[in-house]
Symmetry: C2
């Protein structure tokens, strides 16, 4: 049994707790939190204070770090990697090289393993970009995101006077994807590839037309996009828009000899972004435990890890059943 | 420069020659064939007799074996692996474990590396089955093939009296894929997932209605499928059906907590099956050369190889650009 600790218990931590129940070769030893343990309501896991984690050294195989990328993980991942093998989902793209270097040093000095920036983007999408560009060196890679909630754009809606509550979905333009797959060459920005759909609850007495105008003309957020605005009730928002769906597509269009077109497409449609991300973290936690068994100490990303390390199934069985 | 030899020069070998031109870190030293070298017309590569291959020991980094799975590769891969690092596209699914064992022994005894069963199925589809089932342990995996030519079904058409020439495409039923993605549970056989489209050139004086009836009622091949039959001219067959398109989809539908649906889809749309397969072989040839540099001798499959080994780009650059 691989002994797992969850560090941080928001949506992602809860997702990890749930994913572990689907993986019988793993055992959750506990949730570690900075909050008062008695205030954290889990799906059944025992909760401990984060200060109690260090004394578990030697009793936990992998700590799955479920904090945020802005302030938690840059500090927590190197610190905890000095005592335990770790996985994180650090997703501040521009800072990944720096994060990797810091964690790699901590892991090598402490003879531990850390797999950073795991999830789906960065993560599975990164993998697919790498496979696709290596196989089709002459071509272009496009990433589309959604349909899914953009927290930044939802916040922008909520800051408008007269908006009581709101949510914004980023939606990929399927007609653009189809044109690319048909071989059309296009220089696309994020805004060319996506449209924005807003569901807005008005405050009492607010002017629907004025607010719609304010949204669709908001620079940086909506003015440059095709934006759809729906006004709904607070009850509808709660009933229809509480889930956290997301997904996206990595598309590689390339040519082999002359103009022979080849298309590789990888697509995710997720009803719960945090639960799916958690499932990726848990599969890579298995890889982390194995790399540690093999004494391959240091920091890794998904690009460095052979696919078989993610599976609980024996290599010979995988060859027989999956090849 | 990675020095490559092509062994066997049919559609796949020609595809490898073309793919190598897209990979500036590789150099083709020659094509080795059982035919008389002067009878083989390449895109420019020098042709040698297969008997001359052995004396190149030490001068070739990787031999890419482009023979057939039925009789060539079971003999050639272990034999050539005794002298060189090799890659093959052995695709007789049921015999892969046996082939792996034979090649693994040859490679370990000879301190070489061999990557077997590379291509897209087995190959990229196998990879995607493994990733998807490891991430979503509660779910189902479905493979759809096509649109692409089935050689066996095309041959069955050609054996009918009154058929002068013919080709058959296997076509995945997109409505079934959509139902699966929407969460419908179905026990599907290959025939439930595909339809068959036939393009037939009649011999002089042949009875169109009788031949159509014979096709759609042919047991094992067409009777159990939705089959579409078109009668065309020899010119149309030559003009419109000489390409070798193929492709397919690996779909994993799973649930995380309770009924939260998650869908992972991997799809290939290939205008040339042999050229795409060749491009996969070439990317894995790079991995093969690197594993040999690291003295990781033995047989491997795509499941055993970290994604980064496929790329000519430095690890730090990959982390910066793809994560």
């Amino acid at each position: 049994m691989i002994k797992i600790a969850i560090v941080g218990y928001g949506n992602l931590g809860r997702g990890v707790e749930r994913a572990l129940k689907q993986n019988p070769d793993m055992e959750l030893v506990g949730v570690y939190t900075r909050r008062k343990p008695e205030t954290v309501q889990t799906d059944g896991a025992t909760v401990f204070g984060l200060d109690d984690l260090a004394e578990q050294k030697g009793k936990i195989d992998v700590c799955i770090l479920c904090g945020g990328s802005a302030t938690d993980l840059p500090v927590q991942t190197p610190a905890i990697t000095k005592l335990f093998n770790t996985i994180d989902s650090f997703d501040t793209h521009a800072k990944i090289p720096e994060h990797f270097a810091t964690v790699d040093q901590a892991a090598k000095e402490s003879q531990t393993v850390s797999i950073i920036s795991t999830g789906w983007d960065p993560g599975l999408f990164s993998l697919n970009r790498l496979y696709a560009q290596s196989i089709l060196p002459e071509g272009d890679t496009y990433t589309f995101w959604g349909k899914g909630v953009s927290q930044g754009h939802s916040d922008a809606l909520r800051r408008i006077d007269g908006v009581a509550a709101a949510i914004q979905y980023t939606i990929p333009k399927n007609e653009v994807i189809e044109k690319l797959k048909a071989g059309k060459k296009m220089n696309l920005t994020t805004r060319d590839k996506h449209l924005r759909e807003c569901f807005v609850v008005l405050a009492e007495g607010a002017d629907e037309q004025a607010i719609k105008e304010e949204i669709v003309t908001m620079p940086n957020y909506f003015a440059e996009y095709d934006t759809i605005v729906h006004f709904i009730s607070a009850e509808e928002l709660e009933r229809d828009h509480s889930a956290m769906p997301h997904g996206g597509t990595v598309l590689r269009t390339g040519t082999t000899h002359e103009n022979t077109k080849q298309v590789i497409e990888y697509k995710l449609e997720l009803e719960s972004n945090p639960e799916f991300t958690a499932s990726v973290l848990v599969a890579y936690a298995r890889a982390c435990a194995r790399l540690a068994d093999e004494k391959q100490f240091g920091a890794f990303t998904v690009l460095d890890i052979a696919p078989k390390y993610l599976s609980p199934i024996a290599d010979a069985t995988l060859r027989k059943e999956l090849l």
